[in-house]
């Protein structure tokens, strides 16, 4: 620190000292020390709990024969299909519904406001209790859903969790149930922050209903919608709970997604390297997503 205070006195700094000053930026002396001290905890967390596990995982999953073992596993092939379906339906259905519902909740009235308070409940309730409840609700023989269908409409519902596509659909629906409020609230806030003058001008020009949505509201929300789609894709890739508790990967391991298959391979099968490889096989999808998202998030900061 001594050299730093010397340079402050005004001697023309050169060589090592100028480099030192460059790193300090506008801060000097004890200020710089404090500024560094303040970021040390986060850097520690980042190195110990992000960088180290990432590198360790990369090392665990580095052997090529793991991937040949993985790709020849029929359960893994099914899992890939499930993951893609989960992404395609989960992300798009959820965000499209959220977009529509955010318009619904823009309406005035006490009833709409009360409904919004109730609608947010699934997000506030912890994941596990709700998913266990949904699991039991979907039981073919004693579940609430089939009982309701039978008593109200006389329909014998299917046993939702004993058939692959019903079970996967149930997991996707549960995911949407849990996370729809979150994205709706974000899109609602996005709509509310739209400049009112533009909306008024559109009205004066005669844009109503669908037209005002298609030509005025949506173009202004498009960038936000894109960022949210990318973010939702990444969050959904990592969603372990909705599949694990609703369908449990069953029947006969036919509804796993990558997040649950990784854990199954690592713990139920006792082969952690294979579990890591299963997760790593999502990297070709994840890396471009992360790159676009990181750029978008920075530009979004400026625009919104």
């Amino acid at each position: 620190m001594a050299s730093a205070s010397v340079t402050l006195i005004g001697r023309p700094a050169a060589g090592r000292q100028s480099l030192w000053r460059y790193w300090q930026g506008g801060l000097h002396g004890s200020e710089f020390v404090w500024a560094v001290a303040f970021i040390v905890p986060y850097i520690g967390v980042f190195l110990a709990f992000v960088i180290y596990p990432v590198l360790y995982g990369a090392w665990m999953g580095s052997s090529p024969h793991l991937y040949s073992e993985l790709f020849s596993d029929p359960i893994y092939q099914q899992t890939l299909v499930n993951t893609l379906l989960f992404l395609a339906f989960g992300v798009n259905l959820k965000l499209f519904l959220a977009l529509l519902l955010s318009g619904f909740f823009m309406q005035p009235g006490w009833w709409i406001k009360t409904l919004l308070v109730i609608f947010v409940l699934p997000w506030a309730i912890p994941a596990l209790p709700s998913f266990i409840s949904i699991h039991w609700m979907l039981n073919g023989e004693w579940g609430l859903l089939n009982n309701t269908l039978y008593i109200l409409f006389g329909i014998e519902g299917p046993s939702w969790l004993n058939q692959r596509w019903f079970a996967l659909g149930s997991a996707i629906a549960s995911h949407i149930w849990k996370w729809l409020p979150f994205w709706t609230v974000i899109l609602l806030a996005g709509r509310m922050s739209l400049p009112q003058e533009v909306m008024d001008a559109a009205k004066v020009d005669g844009a109503t209903g669908l037209r005002s949505f298609a030509y005025v509201t949506f173009p202004m929300l498009a960038n936000l919608y894109l960022v949210l789609t990318l973010l939702a894709t990444i969050f959904l890739l990592g969603d372990f709970n909705s599949v694990f508790f609703v369908s449990g990967g069953g029947p006969a391991n036919s509804t796993h997604v990558l997040a649950t298959l990784g854990i199954r391979d690592a713990y139920d099968m006792g082969h952690p390297e294979l579990g890591v490889a299963a997760v790593m096989s999502a990297l070709p999808l994840m890396i471009p997503l992360v790159i676009i998202l990181m750029r978008k998030l920075r530009t979004a900061e400026v625009q919104l």
Binding site: L27, Y42, G57, W111, A127, P129, N147, T148, G238
Partner: protein, 302 residues
Amino acid sequence: MSATTVSAAHAVPYSARRKGRAARRRRWLIRVATLLLSVVILVWTIMPIYNMVMVALEAEGDVFGEHIWPPKPSPRSFWIVVSQGYWYLEYFWHQFGNSVFIAVMTTLLVLSIGSLTSFSVARMRLKNGWLITNAALLTYVIPASFLAIPFYLIMNHYGLHDNPWSVIAALVTFATPYAIFIFQEYGRSIPLELDESARIDGASPVQVYFRIYLPLMAPALVAVGTYALLLAWNEYLYQFLLLSNKRSMTVPVALAQFTNSDQAPWNYMMATAIIYALPPVATYYAFRRRMSSGLTMGGVKG
């Protein structure tokens, strides 16, 4: 149907200006559509929650029956849970305490680490602070469950096996990036001149942090604190992997153990689930307004 409702939302003040039968019929249609959609939303949202309450109010034998209302509703299951009167619930309050401990520690650490980092980067303008922001952004977009396996093995290297601090470390790792964004975004609304004038008056960085930064950041601290608390309460995978002893595990881990058995006492499980869900729901509704503005900042701006 939903599409028309959305457009309808914008059309209401519009059609009101026009007069005539068409407009009146249209308004009536909108009202009916709104009502129908409200019912659909209500049923969709409430059904799993209703199921939770219904099963919790049932007696053991009645769980397996074809009804949509408990035949003999009684709060006995709640009493069994609260008094730990069933073998799988014997450590319930201990496990509840573990959940509280983990959530509170996570919140405190996220708030202090997050605010210190963003104070240094955004307020003191540490050179190359953007590197930290990017590191945080990168962590934010890594799905936590993808890191679970190496994280679990590393905790053994650190000697933190079956230790609540390993869970706290995981939660802090994945919640702090969000805190850093929110603090940096929110901090933009506080003029930097405040810090500068305090510095000229001779305040040290530590004093500026405690006396100026933290008090002005209070709303953001509340929003992020609630977020961290809910995140810790929501999390299952890391708690399941890292905690194995009955005395060190948390409520969700203990609860999940029983879904796998054939003899699952569903009424006790649902009562446990409701008791476990109450604190976050209460917290959320208490801080709802601040939460949603915080969420928006995070969702919109990363």
